[in-house]
Amino acid sequence: MTTAIVVAQQFSRSPGGRTRDDGPYSGERFREEFLVPALKGTDSKFEVDLRGALTLGSSFLDEAFGGLVRVHRYAPRDLKRRMDVHADLDMYVSKVWGYVDEAGRKEHVS
């Protein structure tokens, strides 16, 4: 069975901010408390479900997903193999992978 992280239910309907000192539902906190444990716990694929969230700001998405590359040195291609991202609109899935790819280019992690 695939593990699913449902942001609106397990984290917040209103995620926002980049780092922990910005606020309680920051991208940094989501990355460290949900994404990294899921990536470390098993080698199997898991889902990140952004549906139902009301605020998906660039800072939150970039810090949460781009931060996996910048801070934790995950390769974008490994993340694409491991994570399935769902959102109410496809453009937010594209944004997530855009931040991952951008971080990969800047950090020279492929």
């Binding site: 926002g16 901010g17 309680p24 539902y25 700001g57 800072s59 609109l89």
Partner: protein
């Protein structure tokens, strides 16, 4: 028997219309009101704000006023009082917005008027949009997921901007917000205000962001040129130093000619209306930043 000197009370009349966003004349009336209170408090006098003749409150004026009021109450505790307004709607609004309570007056009204109840009022020190959820739910119900997520993302980024750029790390990044969905006009209105370092102030504090030619050009253009640059105005030098919040707001606004955005900060303002950018200079500086945003949701994104 010792005679006590009478306590000097300055009665300052609040404007007939408490409004800021508009023409230079409009702002002049608002600024004169704020100046009078500042002067009286600085000279050690007690101040009674007289709302008896105030007939209309606009979110831009009320938001700026609440920002000032919170500063005055902190700086001059016990020095400010006010009178109840004669106008029923104005009293409901001042009561609902917490102004009367802040000034020690009890709540006398049942807040029932639609022009009051349709407004969502928020304030906070952090990037936490949880209190805004009822407003965002209302937006989603009235518009679409696409529309609501675009707006929600911009607001979240604007709050991040305030926290990351407007205040120093040691200072809580306080912000105030009014928002409403007007189903009849098919409009969403958002007004946000903070008392942090202004946009021009934070931009000039980081001169390494630009080369000398650009810096000279921006300085020559004044605060409005700096705000326009931070917002990514079409005719400006593009600088994304202040996060993505302002450029994303401008981009979202520009999707429909009926939308309008105005950003006031320190001595300048930038606005976009009908797809056209404008900028100008303010006589009296705005403390921090004020953003006024009107979006028309009848049009397709």
């Amino acid at each position: 028997m010792q005679h006590l000197a009478p306590i000097a009370v300055a009665v300052v009349k609040a404007p007939h219309r408490l409004i800021f966003h508009g023409t230079g004349d409009t702002r002049q009336v608002f600024d004169a009101f704020i100046r009078s209170v500042n002067r009286a408090l600085a000279s050690g006098r007690f101040v009674r704000l007289d709302f008896s003749k105030t007939a209309r409150l606009f979110p831009c004026g009320l938001l700026l006023f609440i920002g000032w009021l919170d500063d005055w109450l902190e700086q001059y505790p016990g020095k400010l009082t006010c009178t109840y307004p004669d106008d029923d709607l104005v009293e409901q609004m001042l009561q609902s917005a917490g102004v009367l309570g802040r000034l020690g007056l009890s709540s006398r009204k049942n807040v029932t008027h639609n022009d009051v109840t349709r407004w969502h009022q928020f304030e906070g020190d952090r990037v936490d949009a949880t209190p805004i959820e009822p407003f965002l739910e209302a937006v989603r119900a009235a518009t679409s997921v696409e529309w609501q997520l675009g707006l929600g993302g911009c607001i979240s980024e604007a709050l991040t901007n305030v926290k990351k750029h407007a205040y120093s790390e040691a200072t809580p990044g306080h912000w105030w917000m009014f928002a409403t969905v007007n189903l009849e006009r098919k409009q969403v209105f958002v007004a946000m205000h903070d008392h942090g370092d202004s946009i021009p102030g934070t931009l000039l504090a980081k001169p390494d962001l630009f080369d000398q030619v650009t810096l000279r050009k921006l300085r020559r253009g004044g605060d409005c040129e700096l705000i326009s640059a931070a917002a990514g105005g079409r005719t400006s030098t593009k600088l994304y130093y202040r996060g993505k919040g302002l450029p994303e707001m401008v981009e979202f606004t520009s999707r429909n000619a009926a939308n309008a955005l105005a950003i006031y900060s320190r001595h300048g303002y930038f606005q976009q209306r009908g797809g056209v950018d404008g900028k100008g200079t303010l006589v009296d500086p705005v403390k921090g930043t004020l953003v006024i945003w009107t979006l028309n949701f009848e049009a397709k994104l």
